[in-house]
Symmetry: C2
């Protein structure tokens, strides 16, 4: 049993974790702009399967960074309050980015009931309307509800929203694989974890990795 | 490519997901009181590895349920606000359970800096003090910081806190495995996911599974 603790200062633990991840990835390489995102997802999950499943559209990272740097003009729309709690708040504030999750809003619950839709789908419709009304650019982050991802794909096809990025990492057993395959055929920048795995922490890790890229550039 | 969506009502998706999990677990069986907890963790992660790593002390579930049913006398102390966002709020309210996370409290940040400790460790000390002052029973939930789990283990050994349950599912590469092994040698009811994996969503899944047990009993 390995009971001895490594004696590291709090700030050193993350650096050491990334060293271990790099060691264990061995000779595996990734496109430069994707590498820190993939490693941060592995850091968040301790699951190296993401090295195989993380899939980026060609323009995903550049499109996301351009939106995130467009001060005060971009909103991040999430499908869970867990992801919202997990994003690095100071970075958002510094960049003037609004981060919203409409899932628990009473009007969303009411409309979902009336229309026989999921709250996730109604939330995404509300986000598309808000973006249109305010002229804001949108980054969608889906870490839980495949129905949210399906709704976003429909909104894109109907030309009702033009996201700067869709993060598609819902987790689960029903319609999750399909929803991810669908978003990857839409005309939109995407970051997707193929297969069943994903989650709110994975979505937050991807968003944080993008935000940290901007911090590092400065 | 599997693009066809299964046509299910929102309420049916969870039931169908659990059916798939049960099918894929095959002849694998679990102690009755653990089964729904393990399956909910798999549901949350789409990761069957948890069927092997989830480890329960003999009295874990009964001790947790007894505390959760002790109306108004139990607090759940978490190491992330993500887990707090992920717990089923209506169940907590119905049971009169206080759910707290001290990680972002200014006094915790200040004390951590003064003492050269992690905020996680300071948070757990604060929880132990609060429990003593208020006479509340405590369930600890650690989904992120191994230092929180190590601090809890020390508080238990020093007799400063007597938790009704410790959920030990931090995730990561440094001191995570060791922290889990340590808590399993302490004299306390525990639910641990051995190894590196875990996370805020896993902690929330375990807490929700416990809360749903009480809902189902009624």
């Amino acid at each position: 049993m390995k009971m001895e603790l490594e004696q590291l200062l709090p700030g050193e633990i993350e650096r050491r974790s990334f060293e271990i991840i790099t060691e264990e990835l061995g000779e595996r390489t990734f496109p430069k702009e994707q590498e820190d995102i993939i490693k941060r997802v592995i850091h968040t999950t301790a699951d190296f399967e993401y090295a195989d499943t993380m899939t980026f559209s060609k323009d995903a990272v550049s499109s996301a960074l351009s939106a995130l740097k467009d001060r005060g003009r971009t909103m991040i729309v999430m499908d869970t309050n867990m992801t919202r709690s997990g994003i690095h708040r100071a970075s958002l504030e510094k960049l003037g980015i609004e981060a919203v999750c409409y899932m628990a809003d009473p009007d969303v619950a009411r409309e979902a009931k009336e229309q026989g839709m999921t709250r996730a789908a109604v939330s995404m419709n509300k986000a598309a309307r808000t973006a249109e009304e305010t002229g804001k650019r949108v980054i969608f982050s889906v870490g839980n509800a495949p129905t949210a991802l399906i709704a976003i794909e429909e909104l894109i096809r109907e030309g009702r929203v033009h996201p700067a990025l869709v993060i598609g990492v819902p987790v689960g057993f029903v319609n999750v694989v399909q929803a991810k395959e669908r978003i990857m055929t839409a005309d939109v920048p995407y970051i997707v974890a193929k297969g069943r795995k994903g989650g709110s922490t994975v979505a937050a890790a991807i968003l944080n990795a993008l935000l940290y890229k901007i911090d590092t550039e400065r």
